[in-house]
Symmetry: C2
């Protein structure tokens, strides 16, 4: 297994260098880069649609969509008014900095204010691969259950903000918000959280304002 | 990247050999082995609890729980009456045949009729690693969304049965069951499916009967 570990470390090291170069490209063009990560079905694409609807008149927004197959998400982002680039990872379970670099090559960064990267639906692997974006956001969702911070600590530790989606389903699900929040707090003290529903729109305003402030400042 | 591909192929080849050896060990002891895979929060542990409640008086059941951290799931399985073995993968995003082999070493297979393996919550990586079990089961869940077969085809292609959990939430969610089923049918024609709810218990009987029949025959 040593050969495997050596290869993995080499890959992660190379990835970090490319992530730094992606960051530089974003900074030089004054683009705010956001990396959205979540389980399959937590609501990444829905949150992107909603963000586009609220901010597309104020900012030029591009979306890079990572999927192991299909362009369903990129099509939805394009329909919601973004310049959308699809990355099909060919089975890979996460995006990496090489893939983002290739996607950035298809965009004119000087015409963009906000870049949203929708990572592959996976609560484990994407946490290990920096992309070069400024903020890493995790979307949890109420139906996933309140034990997820305890079971997927790596993902919860490494993010800059947490969206808790599908709060409209709380009446129909056994989800202990206090237990969930205690798990989050132990892993990532003081983490900014946005409980909201992309379906009922409750709580959405705080998220939109946060992104707007970040995009304005960058 | 060639070095990486060579290493991955070597790992997968070695894994298949070990999976065959696990299968032999299960067969020699007349143990039915089931590999449960799903996204985080689709309901693997809940389905195991429910299966234990219904079948533990008829069969000796062991559960092997794979997680990247904590023993929450193994504790739940033990509380529901199973002999439970916890595998902490140390960050790995899937179980492999080596891990199962180690877990089998902690069980007396001659005293067991049914072995349920709860894989790590992940809709991508576990599909690539055979464990040696007889049946691979995928649990989808209604809140994950109806587009998941299209977006995670590898997982849907490789399984022997599909549980569609949380159907009690259908009234509160935009989930097009026909669209979902068309996606499944295209990838895995004639796949046995069990729409059910581990919370309301609707549809559970068909699943329990199916497992009972398999365990009786093995």
């Amino acid at each position: 297994m040593n050969q495997r570990i050596a290869v993995v470390e080499k890959i992660l090291g190379a990835n970090e260098k490319l992530a730094a170069s992606n960051r530089l490209a974003l900074d030089e063009a004054s683009v705010l880069g956001i990396n959205l990560m979540a389980s399959p079905g937590a609501g990444k694409t829905s949150l992107i649609e909603l963000t586009l609807q609220n901010l597309r008149h104020q900012f030029q927004i591009a979306v890079v969509d990572g999927d192991i197959a299909t362009s369903i998400d990129a099509d939805r982002a394009a329909a919601a008014g973004a310049q959308a680039v699809q990355i099909n990872t060919g089975g890979e379970c996460h995006l990496d900095a090489v893939m983002l670099q290739e996607a950035l090559g298809q965009l004119n960064l000087d015409e963009i204010d906000l870049l949203i990267v929708e990572n592959v639906g996976n609560l484990i692997c994407p946490a290990n691969f920096q992309l070069g974006t400024h903020k890493s956001i995790l979307i949890a969702s109420v139906p996933e259950g309140d034990d997820k911070p305890y079971k997927y600590p790596g993902m919860y530790q490494g993010v800059d903000a947490l969206v808790i989606n599908k709060v409209d389903l709380q009446p129909y699900i056994d989800f202990d918000m206090d237990y969930f929040r205690r798990g989050v707090e132990a892993l990532n003290p003081g983490l900014m959280t946005f409980p909201l529903s992309c379906r009922s729109f409750e709580g959405v305003e705080a998220w939109i304002n946060w992104v707007r402030d970040l995009a304005t400042a960058s």
